[in-house]
């Protein structure tokens, strides 16, 4: 079960979509970056996550909106949030996280538990945790208690779709393999997540 996690903020990713929209919804990735005087590796994290969320499709170095991506940029700020929330729910990362949160004692998870669940091995964990918290909060998938550094589940009608709390805390580090493992098993990807094979070589080329 491969997964990938966000390496840019929701606002940055939205900026990329706005930029793509200025280019009529389809553009060479290098030209997109060039438009903002950025290097390709500076827009790749946003581009990658937009692709994970099914908003953009990258083919032969060219980014283009999916139907959903086009709908998103044509929506209001509030509608965009609702679309992102639904797309995030479909990712392995947030699905796993929300399930763990529902099943956790007092429906709370500390930052450390979060890092364990998504089992970071290759990324600077603090930044990654920060980003995940940021996205989840932005999409209102959970609340965050900054004083206690913990995620708090929100009571939602839609959470009924999650498995009922069984009192069992999911074993950490088994639900989701490390991001690198996702890339290796890309061919076996299920769901809407995508491996990260493209990021690393591209970064290496432009760094």
């Amino acid at each position: 079960m491969p997964t990938t996690y966000p390496k840019s903020s929701p606002t940055e990713m939205m900026g990329l979509l706005v930029l793509l929209n200025q280019h009529k919804g389809s553009e060479d990735v290098a030209l997109l970056a060039d438009d903002l005087d950025l290097e390709i590796d500076e827009i790749l994290p946003s581009l990658d996550y937009a692709e994970v969320l099914g908003l953009v499709k990258v083919t032969d170095g060219r980014a283009a909106f999916t139907d959903l991506g086009r709908r998103l940029v044509g929506s209001t700020i509030r509608e965009r949030k609702a679309i992102l929330r639904e797309q995030l729910r479909r990712t392995t990362l947030f699905r796993t996280l929300l399930r763990a949160l529902e099943n956790a004692p007092e429906r709370c998870l500390t930052d450390e538990q979060l890092a364990q669940i998504v089992s970071f091995t290759t990324a600077p964990a603090d930044d990654a945790v920060q980003n995940i918290v940021n996205w989840g909060r932005y999409a209102e998938l959970f609340r965050y208690d900054a004083a206690e550094h913990r995620l708090v589940a929100v009571a939602r009608a839609s959470s009924a779709r999650e498995p009922p709390p069984s009192g069992r805390v999911p074993p950490p580090a088994t639900g989701v393999p490390a991001p690198g493992a996702g890339a290796r098993s890309k061919a076996a990807a299920t769901g809407s997540d995508r491996g990260e094979t493209r990021t690393s070589p591209a970064v290496a080329e432009t760094a």
Binding site: T11, M13, G15, V18, Y138, E140
Partner: protein
């Protein structure tokens, strides 16, 4: 009808080197549902002009009118968004947004729903209880925007609001400001944006007032008649950028006999 009229405004400051003239004989209008940008070299008094418009400071000569009434004190129909966000670190997002309403003595029972509404339209739902330190720059500027919009101003004054954001975040927020301005259900009617970024001005504004170097005067008023979203790589966009650049570089060169600018204080920044 013009929403704001700036008529023959001079502004000078006293310094220990004598009087420094910041701007001379500046006149322009802000029309109903206008998106106006003020551009010019740094130190030309763009930010000072915003303060004069809002009534935070008084012109040395000339007069500014809002809906035909002289602006003689701080105008509650206008709100400002700052480059530095200007949030109170010890207040939560909700409390920061409520701050502008408290200053205007809004009744407590109406304040809550108003704060919620503007937190929601700016995309801050989920961060109500967060403190500014927990937020990225983009989210902080959203708080600045929500706080300004919550008082339902007729005119939103923006002082380099995107300059301290990374390029992608800035791109996103520019588009959101346009979206809010165009929504007839939401304030503001008009936006006055101060920026040193000529491309940003052309990307956002209907009209651009180009100011010269200090003491500044109006070099030109440029109309931007391009459909949105605007493609920065299009020929017509290039042509406008060129035109504004030339205006500033040619018209903004100091006169050969201009007195040297005093180094120690820069009252306009």
């Amino acid at each position: 009808m013009a929403l704001i009229r700036v008529e023959h405004v001079d502004k000078s400051f006293a310094s220990r080197h004598g009087t420094i003239s910041i701007m001379q004989d500046i006149s322009f209008d802000v029309k109903d549902s206008d998106f106006l940008a003020l551009v010019g070299p740094s130190g030309c008094g763009k930010s000072t002009m915003l303060r004069l418009i809002q009534g935070l400071d008084r012109p040395t000569k000339g007069q500014i009118y809002f809906r035909d009434q002289p602006v003689n004190s701080v105008c509650a129909q206008m709100a400002m968004v700052f480059q530095s966000f200007a949030l109170y670190p010890w207040l939560t997002v909700s409390e920061n947004v409520a701050f502008g309403l408290e200053a205007l003595h809004w009744p407590r029972d109406r304040m809550g729903p108003q704060v919620e509404r503007y937190i929601s339209v700016t995309g801050l739902d989920g961060f109500q209880e967060a403190y500014p330190r927990e937020l990225s720059g983009g989210m902080r500027q959203r708080v600045g925007l929500a706080r300004a919009l919550a008082v339902e101003p007729a005119v939103l004054l923006m002082d380099e609001p995107f300059s301290s954001l990374d390029p992608l975040t800035a791109e996103s927020l520019r588009e959101e400001v346009l979206q809010l301005w165009r929504d007839p259900q939401l304030p503001p009617e008009a936006v006055v944006l101060v920026t040193h970024n000529i491309e940003e001005a052309i990307q956002l504004a209907d009209r651009i007032i180009v100011l010269s170097r200090r003491p500044s005067h109006v070099l030109a008023e440029v109309t931007v008649d391009l459909p949105r979203p605007r493609d920065r790589k299009s020929e017509s966009f290039y042509a406008l950028t060129d035109r504004v650049y030339s205006l500033i570089t040619e018209g903004g060169a100091p006169a050969p006999n201009a007195p040297p600018t005093p180094a120690p204080s820069n009252p306009s920044s």
